[in-house]
Amino acid sequence: MSPFAKVALAGALAALPVAALAHHGWSSYVEDEPITLRGPLKDVVWGNPHGTAKMNWRGGEWDVILAPVSRMTARGLSLEEINNRQRIRLTGYVRRDGTPEMRVERIMIGDKTVELR
């Protein structure tokens, strides 16, 4: 392997851990301890790569991570059901590192359950 190729390969491998820092996929959340909350969502953003909202919980304001717009729509959720401070229930997981952020597994509105995973 030429010296240039060695440097290029080393650089590529060194870049991999950076991906771990930027990522907030499911592995960043504590999955063995699902939490279920009741209440209204605030500041709902119906956007990509995934929807977001805010929710008051445990004395603080938490970032709530939803799903991509195409998935929320395909699974039967609509913006109008959650953006008017409707009282909903959600099951999710909190972030491992203590950041006040949770990722939602499912939302329950009345009798309806929408799986977001």
Binding site: L16, S27, E31, R71
Partner: protein, 161 residues
Amino acid sequence: MEGLLLAFNGWLDAIGLVDWARGSATVYPIANVLHVLGAIMLVGGIGVVDLRVIGLWRRLPLVPLSEALTPVAVAGLVLQALSGVILFAADGEALANSATFTAKLALLAIALGNAALFRWHWRGATGRDFYAPPPLARWSAMFSLSLWVAIATVGRLIAYY
């Protein structure tokens, strides 16, 4: 299919891979990146050979090109299988219930079958006469390229449906 995938997920859980894939903050992102790199090697590698068989770049000798790039594609496929199992382990129940994921696996089975058929059927064609492959080979190559591109597309869309 869902039952089979759930059973596979159960086995992965029993050997500890589910906890490892889910519990580590770095394993899943790395598996994700490797899955992208594997797709590049696989689709890029076999894609160039397919395009040559179809008839692009006729000045390039087909057999040496295939001999150089097919191992890259196979290495990519192996990387996909290994990283794919980790990705699956982290989210097996949701994936087993995903029609998009099931469709990807079905396309994969067809693509592998097509590749095996092509390799077996043209196993004797190492000579000069394979510079200009016959229509059957070209259709097979077009089918192959379409399938691999479709697999990559459907795979990426799993998160979106």
